[in-house]
Symmetry: C2
Subunit: 180 residues, 2 copies
């Protein structure tokens, strides 16, 4: 699913401007998708050209004008069609795990630091999901996805805490054998 299709999908939930769509990406979607203005604005322009969304310009007081996009009936059809395709495989690209594959090359301190940071990072992400849960009325779908994120982050934290000794112990050992 490309950014273009996802923008279309977000518009099924209500009209929005490019700026607001970007915020949605940063908030609700940030855990499993990313998008920058450089992809969102051109996507909206193209969707408009194709007749899948319509656009009206809104003059605002004390704010810049905004362009509010609405999905069209044709757009809804197109999105339903996209939803019916079987999903592509998740694309994951984890620097953290890539680096860990070479844990034996890292100084012990650096390795511990890396894992500490990652645990902190996941805790922050968990907190974000909890905020999200607290502040907004959520659809069951949204709740489900949020819960999924929580489950995965929690599993990651637990695993790192319970098993870090496997690599950290090794680092200590090779230091010891190098020293002695």
């Amino acid at each position: 699913m490309d950014i273009r299709t996802l923008c279309l999908g977000l518009l099924t939930m209500g009209d929005a401007s490019g700026y607001e769509i970007k915020k949605t990406f940063e908030e609700e979607l940030s855990h499993f998708y990313e998008a920058s203005y450089g992809s969102i604005y051109p996507a909206l322009t193209k969707l408009t050209e194709e007749g899948l969304v319509s656009c009206r310009e809104m003059a605002q007081e004390k704010r810049p004008d905004k362009k509010v996009y609405s999905i069209t009936p044709m757009g809804r059809l197109a999105f339903m069609d996209a939803l019916s395709k079987k999903p592509g495989r998740d694309r994951i690209r984890s620097d953290f795990l890539a680096i860990l594959m070479f844990a034996d090359l890292l100084p012990a301190r650096q390795l511990s630091r890396l894992i500490d940071d990652r645990i902190d990072h996941y805790r922050e992400r968990l907190a974000e999901l909890d905020d999200c849960h607290a502040s907004q009325e959520e659809t069951p779908a949204h709740q489900f996805v949020t819960g999924y994120g929580r489950a995965v982050y929690q599993a990651a934290i637990d695993y790192l805490e319970d098993n870090r000794h496997v690599v950290e112990g090794e680092a200590l050992l090779s230091r010891a054998s190098a020293a002695g």
Copy 2:
């Protein structure tokens, strides 16, 4: 971490050809990185030009010739340097979760199918990790990363099984209210 750097890293574990590196990506790394020939071969060419790896051509009997790459001392330094940088954030792009955000737009049957397939998919991934564990002598680093994958997949499966009713129930409900 780009593909180029990761190729360099794999060569710290032993000499290899482009073809073999591709296989490593498909096996050990497939759970958190992907790479095609179209990125691997040019990466190796560039690394060679930069003096970070060296290359010798091996004539083989009953097999095409192969080019075996070795990391150079300069290459090792460059890789250690890359490892010392703090990791970028994980890039995740999940069609599955994106579709789930719009679960209320999906027919109940399709939604159930989607979740069934995903659970199967994770079970397969788990099995791959178990094979990996069984078949190969693994470094502690490798074990650790493999275990991480297992923990996360298992958490995902458990979550989906325990909570699918949250979205599936909703689908049934909206069907019922539409019908009655």
